[in-house]
Amino acid sequence: MKDNLIQYILGIADNSLILGQRLGELTGHGPAPEIDIAITNISLDLFGQVRSYFQYAAQLSDKDITEDDIAFLRTEREYVNVLLVEQPNTDFGYVITRQFLFDQFHYLLLSALQQSTDATMAAIAKKSIKEVSYHKRFSADWMKRLGDGTKESNQRVQQAVNDLWGYTNELFMLTDADKQAIAEGIGVDVTLFKKEYYENVAAILEEATLEVPTQAFFQKGGKEGVHTEHMGYLLADMQYMQRTYPGMKW
């Protein structure tokens, strides 16, 4: 039961970890200093949440491990984030679209997780949801600005929506760890708000004068540890310091 809870925690936290890392890559490279700071803030919010989850997971574990071991010393197949969050920062349109598609999900997830029978999980969700409400506002605002902006910005963000759309369905797939956590009252059944998610997303895309993709083919694998080719590079970057100088602190 404890092992399952740890696995369930990773299923939530790895999304924030990998997305936070992707956003962190943009530090100093944002399109304007103000947006650079905004994106870095979001990245730090996500890492803050990840620390709470991983500290809890480390505490639950029978092994003598810390939050850092969980974050930095797993192999690629042991990360269970969805494929959406590991997709690269192709351009600002992709950065915002990836954020938007995830934030809309993240918000609904945390809303429900606040009712978890596990007090720690409920508390982390309660603390995180304020941050995520802001992320959600930021990314939805930018979807509208880009979609309803110039012809160029509209085309680029539509391209990003079309390309990333195929990764949205995986958000709602249930792993074995999910199913068991749901049965125990700890976990959230994300399939219950799948319809609401796509309705919310479609409403904002429409307001942004963007088209809702109609494709029926969806990618999956991340939740089972099978990642896209981008993941290895991301991890190499993220794990470099801990692997080169094990146990380093500053």
Partner: protein, 100 residues
Amino acid sequence: MSDKKEQKKNWPLWEVFVRSKNGLEHRHFGSLHAADAAMALENARDVYTRRNEGVSIWVVESKHITASNPEHNGELFEPANDKVYRHPTFYDLPDEVKHM
């Protein structure tokens, strides 16, 4: 036309005022670039209140602020220099009076 072109290239400048606590006044914190008022507020939140500095933000586009001309500083401000009697420092205050 050239003004429009310029706007496309550069976001206009905004001045940011933050009230750090209820009951205190808004103070000028700095400036930033943004495409419109809504974005200026969002940016101000991210740039100036990320370390818990504020409870309220005002933004105003810099071009709407009329400033005194530094070249006129002589006539504007110097005449006040030798008028010490305009400071209420010539009274003996009883010890019982506080907060003066």
